[in-house]
């Protein structure tokens, strides 16, 4: 189960890291890299502290059954939110995330607010980078903590799950840093919507499984029931995308 936690955490974190990277790149290119990297470093330090504090609190204070229901519910909510957005994008009812467009837009905003290239540490640039890392990173922290802890069957496994999820997130950060350093441009080729869809399915499936266990459900096939849930949610989501595309075409035809 740990490899699933690592992979899911990696995929979820990759999407958020790409979005944060776009802003970090804008600040670095428009103002200077010193401000951008200091803001990024501060943001990452705050996020790591949040994982350590909240993760430890949840692991040590709350009983496993209660935790499973609570965290399972949060995973369902988060997963359904991501799944809904991804399905709308696949159906063409919501615009795909365009990192290049965001990059250009943010650059114009910075210039309009008087931000200009300088060799000194720029407070505005630093705060912008910090804010971006914190905003995108909070979702990662949420997933790392909830996913990492939920995978545990015993109290002893909670910390192991948390570490596995954190490892996945760290791998995603390093991947984006390396790719960003090579490409030196917005990472537009990362299939963001596919990743969000996949993570949405994982979060919803695992959330359903653990919330059910928290309520006292004895799933048929135990852990194998998760595979059944993943397949079921995939089929439902595929059906919803097809249905929504048909509806969108009908609405377009009617409006002409």
């Amino acid at each position: 189960m740990q490899w699933v936690v690592v992979l899911s955490s990696f995929a979820a974190s990759l999407v958020e890291c790409v979005e944060a990277f776009t802003i970090i790149l804008v600040v670095g290119v428009t103002i200077n890299w010193r401000s951008s990297l200091i803001g990024t470093g501060l943001g990452l330090a705050i996020l790591a502290a949040l994982v350590a504090v909240f993760g430890t609190t949840l692991v040590t204070v709350i009983p496993l059954d209660v935790l499973r229901l609570f965290v399972g519910t949060l995973l369902i909510l988060f997963g359904l939110k991501w799944l809904k957005k991804a399905i709308l994008r696949y159906a063409g009812l919501k615009a795909l995330h365009d990192e290049e467009a965001i990059y250009e837009h943010e650059m114009e905003l910075i210039r309009a607010q008087g931000g200009k290239s300088t060799s000194q540490m720029d407070r505005f640039g630093m705060i912008l980078a910090l804010k971006s890392v914190l905003l995108e990173g909070l979702e990662v922290v949420f997933i790392v903590i909830t996913f990492g802890i939920s995978a545990a069957k015993t109290n002893a496994e909670k910390t192991a799950g948390l570490n596995a999820a954190a490892l996945g997130a760290l791998a995603a950060v390093l991947t984006v840093v390396v790719l960003g350093a090579i490409v030196h441009a917005p990472l537009r080729r990362v299939p963001e919507n596919t990743l969000k869809f996949t993570v949405g399915i994982m979060l919803t499936s695992f959330g359903t499984f653990w919330a059910g266990e928290g309520l006292g459900l004895d799933w048929l096939g135990r852990d194998l029931a998760i595979i059944g849930l993943v397949v079921a949610y995939l089929l439902v989501s595929g059906g919803l995308v097809t249905w929504l595309r048909g509806r969108a075409r009908m609405q377009l035809a009617t409006s002409r």
């Binding site: 229901l69 909510l77 988060f78 359904l80 809904k84 709308l88 459900l217 079921a232 919803l240 609405q251």
Partner: protein, 68 residues
């Protein structure tokens, strides 16, 4: 008061983003908890199916509102 309201909205948007998803999920889990309290874990397979169908319906209803 406004700060509390703004913070609550920010947390809500962060975790859920759609009130229908929240209401549907909470209702589903409450109903499943009630069923389990009444029949025990004997009918777990069917209750699991009910749980899945109800959550899938929640997602469908939330999506349906987006195209209306």
């Amino acid at each position: 008061m406004q700060i509390i309201r703004k913070s609550a909205k920010a947390v809500f948007d962060f975790i859920v983003g759609d009130a229908r998803l929240l209401i549907g999920t909470i209702l589903t889990l409450a109903v499943v908890a009630l069923i389990i309290a009444l029949v025990g874990s004997a009918a777990s397979t069917w209750v699991g199916v009910v749980l899945f169908i109800a959550l899938a319906a929640t997602l469908t209803i939330a999506l349906r509102r987006e195209v209306k």
